[in-house]
Symmetry: C2
Subunit: 208 residues, 2 copies
DNA sequence: TTATAAACATTCATGAATGTATGTAAATAA
DNA sequence: TTATTTACATACATTCATGAATGTTTATAA
């Protein structure tokens, strides 16, 4: 059983990535040996080394699989011109992010690996930068949208758009980390959507 | 040169802990061998094994050294009855936390290790719980203080104390993580105190 | 004063993970 | 049809970290 067809080879590549995710999640990245991953994928280390140069490359592939489409989905809301109140775009975008996180165990596993099962040193320092960039981008994007809201007069008077953006930025990051690091504690996940609504409500025009 | 006096032994114990912090910070916990740590401390592995059972116990000792006094310091502000506006107590407590983080490189290193240089699996899953508990406690405490503010009428009308507490909770966590994971990016540290002030201002009574 | 134990250093055996080198059977191009 | 790759499996050499065992010196208690 060697020399599979191209599609079969692509299939085993994907299975290796999936197995890597499971093993990374269970053992942590540094304790995940390529032997364990190979066994979990039903292949030998030879197959892993055929498809990936080393553990780091496998890690990057696993991450890329999940990250890019997620950013695309949330940006669709954030940059959409369909909302007449820009604040709704921000709220929809953040809600969408956490909805995906709740619905997709794959996405959740990858985030849990990146947040609490990986050490960002050596070959992995670059990962931290790659994670930092979307975060920086997110700040820039919501600042722009908050500015639109200010122009249209839907942002509560007295709130600076940049200030609002930074606060929302921290809020989102914190919610993500709290959700994934103490997940079973005080079933936070049920309260996520309410927290987002409350957070945004504080910067909307006060209801008469 | 063996069989030191008790004080000297205690000194080497501390030096091992300090060395561990430096090596953990540079190499990540899993790649930090006891040999590296010993060498950095100017001793051999024998000394490390004499003072600590294994790497995990050394990690716990390093963490405990820094954590307990920090919680005590921030709680002093949070639970102080000296502020006539409870919101000032919350703001002072959070400000104090980030001030220590800025001033003490030791504290900062330990937090950086725990956030981005340690994998919470195996013997280290309990660490995550130990980190989660102060976070949970913090939520409970600020909820109580927000409730006091509501009673005294200093909390902006229309804001529920529990909602405010959860939002501040996420904000604080997010700020911490953003600060430590993308530290050099966009010199966030300069903006921390302003961000805290803005965050709290949004829940104060609007200035006439 | 001496016996004991503290505070390490040194040595050793073991296992585990990595990377590479080589083997091999089937797909595919010619 | 045959030659050549492809897509792996298997085997091997090397390095490295760990834990335990043992050695050594000196503080300290009796």
């Amino acid at each position: 059983m060697v020399r599979k067809t191209k599609e079969e080879a692509e299939q085993t590549r994907k299975e290796i990535i999936h197995a890597a995710r499971r093993v990374f999640h269970e053992c942590g990245v540094s304790r995940s040996t390529l032997e364990k991953i190979a066994k979990a994928a039903g292949v030998t280390r030879g197959a892993v080394y055929w498809h990936f140069q080393d553990k780091a490359e496998l890690f990057f592939a696993m991450r890329e699989d999940v990250f890019a489409p997620l950013v695309e989905r949330t940006d669709a809301y954030l940059l959409s011109e369909c909302f007449d109140n820009p604040l709704d775009a921000i709220e929809a975008s953040i809600s969408e992010f956490f909805r995906v996180l709740e619905d997709s165990s794959v996405v959740r596993e990858v985030f849990e690996i990146m947040i609490s099962r990986c050490e960002y040193v050596g070959e992995f320092t670059s990962v931290e930068e790659e994670i930092g960039r979307p975060a920086q981008d997110f700040l820039a994007k919501i600042e722009r949208v908050y500015r639109q809201a200010a122009e249209r007069g839907t942002l509560r008077p007295g709130i600076d758009p940049l200030d609002a953006a930074r606060d929302t930025w921290a809020f989102t990051s914190g919610l993500l980390h709290l959700l994934l690091s103490c997940q079973r504690a005080s079933d936070l996940s049920q309260k996520v959507s309410a927290m987002i609504r409350v957070h945004m409500a504080m910067r909307r025009i006060a209801p008469a």
